[in-house]
Symmetry: C2
Subunit: 434 residues, 2 copies
């Protein structure tokens, strides 16, 4: 797809009322999600303005090649649909675009639109494997400083896209409550650990990369082909219990400190929708080592980063009781990624590991290089030492029960329609053991 | 189930020819696997001697309660069957035992037996999540010594059952070739890493614990209930690329060094079959801290370990060409686990994480406390510094292409029938990039 693809034309208009200049879902976006309406079964929907198009129903009005894909809209997750690969999904995108812009189709298609406010949204994919990377170099530096003030980044950081396997079973869609985990913690001066609810519960602002077409075990994906394997992206909140993590994580990495819950946004924004926002990979400063061959692709270096802005908002119980709007905690760029998405795909499969449709890759916490673009409370409060003052007089070092974190993301620039991601929301509730 | 359960009677006999005193699969074992015969679709089988019973076909001859369970034998994995829980599986075990011991049923059941040597065996479960623990305290000590000679075990080891998330997608059944991974490695004196096939490819001798019934997110499993959530156990080879691991693993743990392939044995040996081999948990020496409350259960301490012996055998291409039998590299006890299986289940879910049917838990490499009971080449060769001499004049520090590792396991003692696990086998083949 070139940048002159007609689906990116900012002047394109859908006949769907209210979709024009919609903050998140104009005709140029067309993200996918799993939705249900009125107790019906889950099926694939496409967002257009404040409405959701039932993909499988709309398939009847598409030409042959797109119709077969659209029929996969009746499945219980997006896995089968996106396993068809990026090129097939582009054909489908064009078919949906045509139905929603061609006034002659309005009478047929309008009955297949559902009011989003009356629908439920569900996990977009069945996640088999979840891998969390660590591409946020500012975050890695900030966290490293807490442990190693003089030497925050380890020697492998600029060569290896560092990542680890996360827990797939506990990934939940936006809106699901987050039960405060309990676990072992040990104070530095204590002889032994004690067990109780986490006292240092945090969020982590990440983007979610969804794998579309997979690869066979033993057959790495070349970086030049990586694009074809990306279904799209969303927002990820990698909730973290810092006190559990500090005690458990050596020598094999984070485990229970993360596996209690991870939240993803329901809408999958395709790489096609984001094409106008591809930018050069600039997180790697002059003087850093060049990517090793298997991680280097000229086109990827020139256009492999995404000019997407991410925001974190906090709503406390007191704020809600007083009718106050959530407070913005940070606003930062996705270009804080030290590695491109294509580099993550190429690295992950470079040892022969097989990726599969619906695999979730987290970017790692993305902290910008400004004081107001910091992706976790751990960093904002300097490890809990400098409480954050909220406008209503409350303070926070870490999250309290009743706190709700709302993450949003969007891409915007002159000469292009704004592409939004919807939101990723979660509220902390008391755990079963207090 | 008490130890006087009639299915444990060592004098019990099946009418199936050759099953009497079978080394692995006497009537007292009755493990489950996924099998296929003559190009048929995969279905659930039960081992008896050298034969496999088709469970779904046999269900027709069972009483109501067992029949419903047996009908799940037509599914494509063991997940649905074992999600019914340990008690239901005990009912089914008794029903199968009765069919195979009652001579009056022989005419009906004999046609439902398939010669194992003519069948294919497949992945027993669809693995959603794979968690690898680190319970082998001798292994943890040996590996720790390579990095920290004076302080091999980290302070958390005796409090926290250390574990990390593994890669689920690349778990394969015994018999699948293992493609040598490539990846980044860095020599201590090199300025930068280079990329190539791993030169320090190793096996790790582990046992596989399969989760049966799961739990809801946010609802930890009490250690006293943990047993009900265990489907059974098998053998696990956690193939490891030591050179990739040394360079990539900080700060988030092993990733590509392990995710290229893990091998499991096809047969799931139930905890019921192993009941006569439950022993006290003795890996925790006097003077070590007591398990924290959520990890302590009196019955589990008294009977939560398993008296199972594990063996590793090596067959090189040269040995096979010369018609030589595989060489035994080690033979050690499963009681080298510092934590019981119940403790692993309780810990894993203690933060609210949900376990699901088919989840795979690795015990971690189990090295005994004898020179001939060492579970990896890394330990046998002291980090590659002391090559192992093979009887045919070859030497090994790490695995060569063509090397095959065969792991076996069994439980035996006077007054009980021997319970075998079959084997977990894998051969190293050259990777796609040499």
């Amino acid at each position: 797809m070139t940048l002159t693809d007609h689906t990116h034309n900012p002047d394109a208009r859908s006949w769907v009322l209210g979709s024009e200049n919609h903050a998140d879902f104009p005709i140029q976006n067309l993200p996918f999600a799993m939705f249900s309406s009125g107790g019906s079964k889950k099926r694939v929907g496409v967002a257009i303005g404040d409405m959701i198009l039932d993909l499988a129903e709309a398939a009847d009005f598409m030409a042959d090649d797109a119709r077969k894909l659209g029929e996969l809209g009746s499945r219980a997750d997006l896995n089968a649909l996106f396993s068809c690969g990026a090129e097939a999904m582009r054909t489908l995108r064009h078919a949906i675009f045509d139905l929603l812009t061609d006034g002659g189709k309005q009478a047929d298609i309008e009955p297949l639109l559902y009011r989003a406010s009356e629908c439920g949204l569900h996990m977009p994919f069945t996640v088999r494997d979840y891998t969390d990377f660590y591409t946020g170099i500012n975050h890695a530096t900030n966290v490293g400083k807490l442990f190693r003030p003089d030497n925050p980044l380890l020697p492998n950081y600029k060569f290896v896209p560092i990542g680890y396997h996360g827990r797939a079973s506990s990934v939940r869609v936006s809106g699901s409550d987050v039960t405060r985990p309990k676990g072992q913690t040990k104070a530095p001066d204590a002889d032994a650990p004690s067990v109780g609810p986490s006292k240092r519960l945090d969020y982590e602002l990440e983007m979610a990369v969804w794998v579309g077409q997979g690869n066979e075990l033993g057959a790495p994906i070349d970086i030049a082909d990586a694009k074809k394997h990306i279904a799209g992206i969303g927002i990820l909140n990698d909730w973290s219990a810092r006190d559990l993590q500090a005690w458990e994580y050596q020598p094999l990495g984070p485990f229970l400190a993360k596996s209690f819950h991870s939240s993803v946004s329901p809408w999958v924004v395709t790489m096609d929708a984001l094409a106008p926002f591809r930018v050069a990979q600039e997180a790697r400063p002059e003087g850093d080592p060049a990517p090793l061959d298997y991680l280097f692709d000229e086109d990827d270096q020139a256009t492999g980063a995404l000019d997407v802005t991410m925001e974190v908002h906090l709503s406390t119980a007191k704020m809600r009781d007083a009718g106050q709007a959530p407070m913005c905690l940070s606003k930062g760029p996705m270009t804080a990624m030290y590695w491109t998405i294509a580099q993550l795909i190429a690295h992950h499969s470079s040892n022969g590991c097989d990726l599969n449709p619906g695999d979730l890759l987290g970017t790692g916490t993305l902290t910008g290089n400004m004081p107001d673009s910091v992706g976790s409370l751990l960093e904002i409060t300097n490890g809990g030492k400098e409480p954050l003052a909220l406008p209503n007089g409350e303070t926070r070092t870490f999250l309290e029960n009743g706190d709700e974190i709302i993450m949003t993301a969007y891409a915007e620039k002159a000469g292009a329609a704004r592409i939004g991601f919807g939101e990723c929301r979660g509220r902390i509730v008391e755990g079963p053991l207090g």
